[in-house]
Point group: D2
């Protein structure tokens, strides 16, 4: 299987983390899936992902002291594999795992995803749990020095140990049986986080890849947490489908502003089946599982900036909001087909300019020849943002393969026609320049054509 | 001007550094150019580059204490621009600079290049020298804290200072007048080297780019020294044609072995007009200017490994050897058209495997569909090196666009035909595997076809 | 000469930097010296120091762009040695240098100090200036890669070069002729600042030491800037009298709070003739030369905290304020003999406790047996600060050598008598605890006795 | 209790690590103790220390794969406290722990020590083991993110958790009951090793200190592993008796040479009850438990260098050799009373010089006025090593308090008398210089007197 065919365009969906943290249950997942089918599916949204610690009991009960309770009870089978917590996912009883929930979601025409932590449960290692299809036990493949820095459920698996690949294989066979379409593996992407074990982290990515190849199901592989390492770009591209280029993204302007720096860094690495990931989108209602339920802290302008950047950059789009509470304006932001067209597989984008006041991006669809320009205003007040034709190199960028030679050189004389995709407003450039007055922290996204 | 058109394939040529260090003179440059025209030009070699400190007097005279003599006399015009040392380049007298030498080289059908250090001469700054076309003096654009770590000729230029861009413009106007086709700018690529001034280094790259655009001559821009910063790949790609991915490369196996790591890192960044640069090639006679003239320390096998890696990776090829002393075997290494075909603009290569014992690379010409595999043996003795079809993913990689569907999937049953490009020997793969016995530190480069 | 005898107690004086920056002149220095003689001398203040760039012309004239003007004119003798700027120090005319000014200050019964930058002037190096008593020129001892990160006047001197020690010797012979008692050498203490030249910085400290030994005058050697490196404590202690343990200290609470961390770090390193230096004191009027003349930003409570810490820690005390403008309250702070007693050579202090809310220090005079406790309140409001006898280990610490055995163990039953040294108020401890209500950011300094 | 009184001079003894690694048993410990009593005790040797993993089963059985077997069985009481492995320490049966062995050693007039790892057993944490005298369980005080980098037995204890101090208190109450005189706590000294938990490591040192104070027994506290952090010198000095200034020291010249650098760094920090620790001494037979039993790799000259440095620097002396196998020459090295006199509490040493060829140290007994000079030859062949009176500053250093003034200044005219303490040979200095021909890697240690 060529893993790049698993996700020919950036995955779009919903994940339970931003709203539910570690507490989500079956009823809530279904409610969000139902909503997605009804309101979002036609626009490309399709993944429903159960995020972190679905195997843990007591999740969320000691919120004042811990996000993840150390040494708490985990649901696990006799083969050292984690299973859904039966209190929160009753349909998993009787060893059915996530199959019933996956079936439900597939029944809606959607896809089902889960979050996992890299490695093997610590408790299985200390208890010398079995590894399917091998004669070794968990303590022989667990690396007691390879731990996650913020969640104490697992030990890393030592790729050199006999039985290591078999353990990962057994996990993905189980996930394939359940019908999982997407796995978000955590504690594995930014391998700088575990100082002395960078190598081991990379090997675990390769074990994940091989386990997916062997399980026979085209499971999209998403790696967290960020920031991913730019010097390992080639490795992520070889073995995974998406990788987080930031630490957790939330509804704060400083994080959004910072994302421009990260997109600058990763702009050349957006390829079919390979997506640098700007992390989940936090519009609408979020934060309940963290004990701080709130409407997003972003202004509308900032949300437009966020959506424009994620789409022109072609990041995966994973909603963090509780879908059943979406208001009309937010929904409109998530259902703009003209904007989502930029996410198409033949689009390629490039940053034209970035400084402390503004940024400019350009995108072209190599098949249709459609061109787009996004202007961003980073300032605290409305400001004019502009970009000149020379900077955009429009002559080179807008030319088409079969254009007559004399037109190819010098086509763009003085103006192009502009259509803003969030508002639908049209305009014409002047003096070889694209100019817009943009609200504080806002953006404009133009489709540009030569008339 | 689109700078990527200045070098549609990786530049190939000769540079004076490895043999002459700081001491090269006009007669020697011409002798190497003559040789190139006669023996190498038809194979693609075309650049003749005068390397470091052509403006310095006494170069090489205190070799026991210094490579570059601090505070020595530099030839300079009244506008703070360095000129060729008249003792070594007599034709430059009368303010003609490098024009006569460039004319000579152009007359041979070759191209002319020079090396420069980033910045403005320190002595000009201390003497408040003029800047052409401005009312400011050198002290106003020089940054006294931005120095090179190993050569004391220059201060960096402060991009924010009035007159800064004008100074670089004036340099490239002069170089354009001379007829320079290629500029290797030093102390600018690995901006980590000047700890507190990374930003300023990047801005000087941008000033170079703009100065070239303004001068109207398509001068290829090469950046040194390495290692270039992978997180600035997008920046090099936007503003330059080639950038050094290593510190100076010499004839030592450890450096050659290390290059595989660097090529792994940069493999996705070889694009038209954008070349990660493995540095000069040291076969033949080198080291005279350093007081240690010697035949290359590489074995023949190592030289084949080097040429194979540089070519399949598509690094620029710059010879460091004294050309007039090339022996027959070395010359044969530099005149293999079948191998140089891999450097074509439609080729793209990928590393298939690398560990402490071996490496495998694959390259495909997207236009002709030609496929190549290189096998490298890192061990200290002859060893069998092999790669299996699955690892190569031959089914995916060798398919052609217009191939019938039933053939596209599963074309590669059990064997491919192989032709080794250095020896011309043919072979057939067995058991879905390409296998070769390779000498210590050696390589095999195969053209592979389906029969 | 044993350099530790040059300063048996921490030096106290005034330096021109905080008020005048680079602009101070002779009249101003004399005015401050006159004031010191009249109002401060009897309390131990004795050094008058001309701070940075007394040799530069145009100092302060381009304040909007530079603190130190790069490439500006410097007054220099034919031997590459800097001399006072004649415009600002007219008495230096005729080659008399600072001798007339030093004579004046000595006439007041005070001591005279100057600031220097490590190294040799860049301009002397580029012009191949002479070195006294040698046949080499400045370019042969200057290290063109050893520069200061914030002032461009000098190059470091290469300790291995012939003539290097001779240059430093010639400087201190000149300073000894002038009558200099104190040299504050800059760009030399925190040798981490010049990344690749740490070794060279250490060697320059040793050259300074040797030059002082040779010049025959007991010149106190003060090293800047900080933070000094704790792993080089033994080296500073061997070769210098004081070394800055912070970057520049100014009138901000965050810097003052941070000083507690630094004093914690260096507490064991205060020894006779060896003083970790908390930097200049900024009470009163400061900042004029920086274009921002102002009354200190510290509250009175913060100033008491500062003076208490500096004195109990036994930092050198160098006033930065314009003395002629001192108000009565500030003067009272600088003339408290009971407090300055803590600076005596037989005192040794130790930090008892420090957290985000408070700190406690203890000091004992090993000769008189006098004990002191300082309590500091770091909070933003008045708060009770206390320390218990056990924490202070009073039994051990207050015991005297000739005390009868039965008293030595268990002397401190329930209470000690306290006298606060800033207010003169008395008190008695209760329940084996010393307690005080202290204003926000304030301190109490107690003399404690057993009655 | 004043912890500095627990060890008024640097502890001297034997520890099982260098010979037995993790495998030592009761019979072996007793045999070494017997030998110490008979041959070494009168020279000051007194501690007998059972080193790492005395609580582990199977220690040493999988030597080819592990030094410490992850997830192996540990002997533990119901209160989460480790006990001696009953297989190796049969006298510990019936809950008697190390008491019988300690009694035996005390019966020889010697002192008993044990090694512990910082923290609480991981297995106790996962099983929610009890903590004595509290209502909390092990999982509530264990920090699942605070692990040792090379031994997987323990989790760090979170100082802020309720029950944390109580756990350490319970450990030391047990050790006090057993009769432990010395605890070598591991994974706690070089707190840089656990990148994100430096603070927590420091807090555990403080908990150890408090637990010792509470247990009422003067247990010497030794901290490992090194290198200790020089910026935490004050903290070690406040809470512990000795701390390792290197990583493990073994019988290699490069490690011995490196120790001079470390002693230079820590020279000012040797104080009563506070000892920077150069680690165990590996003369004689070592390495059996590591599967590589061998006679020390040091030459005799190197052993003299080692002993001279450890003694003049006043490091603790802990023998690693199997005592029962000591040969006569080695024994003579360990029983030189004149040399051990340098370890006395009134001695203070200082490094006079160090470069790549040699080092010189000076030591003075402030009570007797005795002075010593050690000369070290770092070269690969015999060489003359010397030091001049000026460098030694003999005039200052050898003066005595009650010496007549005229003698104090200038006592040392031209010569001092020398007695070499390893050979007993006498000599006289010449030309104000102490000179010796020293074998490769060897040393001379002189007692110097004025006649």
């Amino acid at each position: 299987m060529n893993k790049n065919t698993f996700a020919p365009t950036p995955p779009m969906g919903w994940s339970s983390y931003d709203y539910y943290d570690t507490t989500v249950n079956e009823v809530q997942v279904k409610a969000n899936a139902d909503y997605m089918k009804k309101h979002l599916k036609e626009y490309g949204w399709e993944y429903v992902v159960v995020d972190i610690q679905w195997y843990a009991y007591g999740a969320g009960t000691m919120r004042d002291r811990y996000q993840y309770i150390p040494f708490s009870k985990l649901e696990m089978d006799e083969y050292s594999r984690l299973l859904p917590c039966r209190e929160r996912f009753p349909s998993s009883a009787g060893g059915r795992g996530f199959k019933p929930l996956a079936d439900y979601i597939h029944g809606l025409g959607l896809k089902f995803g889960i979050h996992i932590m890299r490695g093997i449960p610590r408790i299985a290692s200390h208890n010398h749990g079995k590894i399917p299809g091998t004669f070794v036990t968990a303590d022989r493949i667990a690396n007691p020095f390879s731990i996650c820095g913020w969640n104490s459920d697992m030990y890393g698996v030592d790729a050199k140990a006999e039985g290591a690949q078999e353990y990962y294989d057994s996990l993905f066979l189980l996930y394939a049986e359940w019908g999982v379409d997407y796995v978000k593996c955590d504690d594995i992407c930014n391998t700088n986080l575990y100082v002395n074990n960078r190598y081991s982290g990379e090997k675990e990515i390769e074990m994940l890849y091989k386990a997916i190849q062997k399980c026979g199901r085209p499971i999209v592989l998403s790696l967290s947490p960020g920031p991913a390492l730019i010097d390992k770009a080639w490795h992520y591209e070889k073995y995974a489908n998406m990788w987080r280029i930031t630490d957790d993204f939330w509804d704060s302007w400083s994080l959004l502003l910072n994302m421009f720096e990260r997109c600058e860094l990763w702009q050349k690495h957006v390829l079919p089946g390979c997506y640098p990931d700007c992390d989940m989108l936090p519009p609408g209602w979020i934060g309940k599982g963290f004990g701080q339920e709130r409407m997003t802290g972003f202004t509308r302008e900032e949300q437009i900036t966020m959506m424009t950047l994620w789409c022109i950059f072609r990041s995966p789009l994973m909603l963090g909001a509780e879908l059943t509470k979406l208001d009309e304006w937010t929904l409109s932001l998530l259902t703009n087909k003209r904007v989502f067209a930029l996410m198409g597989s033949s689009h390629q984008a490039v940053q034209i300019a970035r400084d402390e006041k503004h940024a400019v991006w350009f995108s072209k669809d190599s098949e249709s020849g459609n061109c787009y320009v996004a202007l961003f205003n980073f300032q605290e007040a409305e400001a004019e943002v502009n970009t000149v034709f020379e900077e955009l190199d429009l002559n080179t960028r807008m030319e088409k393969k079969n254009m007559p030679e004399k037109i190819r050189h010098g086509i763009i004389k003085n103006e192009v026609h502009l259509e803003e995709l969030w508002t639908g407003e049209g305009a014409v450039s002047k003096e070889r320049k694209i100019t817009a007055d943009i609200d504080a922290h806002g953006a404009k996204l133009y489709h540009i054509t030569i008339k």
